[in-house]
Symmetry: C2
Subunit: 227 residues, 2 copies
Amino acid sequence: MKTHISSQDIPETKRKLLNAGIELMRMKGFNATSVAEICEAAGTTKGGFFHYFPSKEDLTKEAAFLFREEKMKSYEEAGFLSLPDPLDRVMSRLEFLKSSERLHNIYSCLIGTLAQELSTTHPDLREIFQGAFAKMTKDLELDLEAAKALYAPEAVFDPRSLASMFISMFQGAILIAKAADSNEVVVDNIESFITCLRSFFPEAAFRKVKTRRKPAIASGKPAIAAS
Amino acid sequence: MKTHISSQDIPETKRKLLNAGIELMRMKGFNATSVAEICEAAGTTKGGFFHYFPSKEDLTKEAAFLFREEKMKSYEEAGFLSLPDPLDRVMSRLEFLKSSERLHNIYSCLIGTLAQELSTTHPDLREIFQGAFAKMTKDLELDLEAAKALYAPEAVFDPRSLASMFISMFQGAILIAKAADSNEVVVDNIESFITCLRSFFPEAAFRKVKTRRKPAIASGKPAIAAS
DNA sequence: GTTTTCATACAGACCGGTCGGTATGTAGAA
DNA sequence: TTCTACATACCGACCGGTCTGTATGAAAAC
């Protein structure tokens, strides 16, 4: 029994339902989004909905997984995950987040929205959200750790804590962007985080990263091994 | 016509309704909290509810104001707002937040919870949340600005951006604490922020603050004027 | 001082509508 | 013929909000 199927295997109607669910719940949350509404947006009916999902909560679970999966795919496509230099990976990730915030004008993360609303009432969903946040943190932590080892082994910051701080900041920034109806704060906060990073690493590290970036990818061979 | 009354003027039943609303909505959000539920928790009935509030949304507005008012009152009682040294105010504020997180085990901010759920669907509430976040940010910004002018005028950070980053981080940390069912992350993130602060200010500034703190209050006269 | 008046502060039954979910039906593929 | 993939009608529960009724106390009238 597999608990989750990959995006490719999903039939069209189910996929439309999931996409509609993601979009609607990102904006309005779980409780304010009705099953009928999701069906209408997906161009189907309740019959279709409950054919694919035993309950609204089940769609929500799968929607959360799909949302994460697509986010991670967009990271892979952006390319920074495979950069050879860890500090380069960190900086490129931040730049990617910044530019994708500037591009879109939907100020909401499905995971954050649902976590806020459902964590205390739906324990099994809560664990999914917890896992998602932990994964985000870990990804960044590993790069930060490697970057620290490489460029600033004596620095005072703890990679894990700093990564955790960034994820919190990012989620909080999206929340405040929602309230402000502008994602300016997200971009601004990422830049502040970069300022903090710069204060932890020697300036030379950033210069090296900047000049080496493109050639390092082109050559296909890291000048300095990661981690 | 006054738009908002101070806490003292609120009759007991209304107060109970507001308190019940705050507690329930902090945990479950707006939509998952029913009027009947609030009434039961407050020990009254729908008659009482709709005697004091034209609608559920109106109670929510007043609850948000009351929540903020009580938070600010707790800040005043903590005393750090009137400290003479701005860096001392900042550090004491952070320490206060840390210790109050350690004390309570409710991982939720009403404003953040409601902002997440209602910002896109309830424009007038959205503006209230926006204002609340702006106020929090401004409060911290002023202290940071004064502290920078006093101790690190050449530092690279922007007080406004750094304050904004902290508020985002704090709200995000609470969100993640909800998902993790533990406020460990909140305390940890505040400490990370302190580490960032320390990298912006000269170490001497913190030493001065620490040794001077108590005497400065006792004398009632700031050794160095704020702002 | 007593009675009448009237607003306040609720109680609780009730209403139309919406909710998540079910039961049943059916068109088309295999 | 059987199974999949839906459509549609429908259900009981519950929702926010309304309505009517009533206990109470203060003010006004006599």
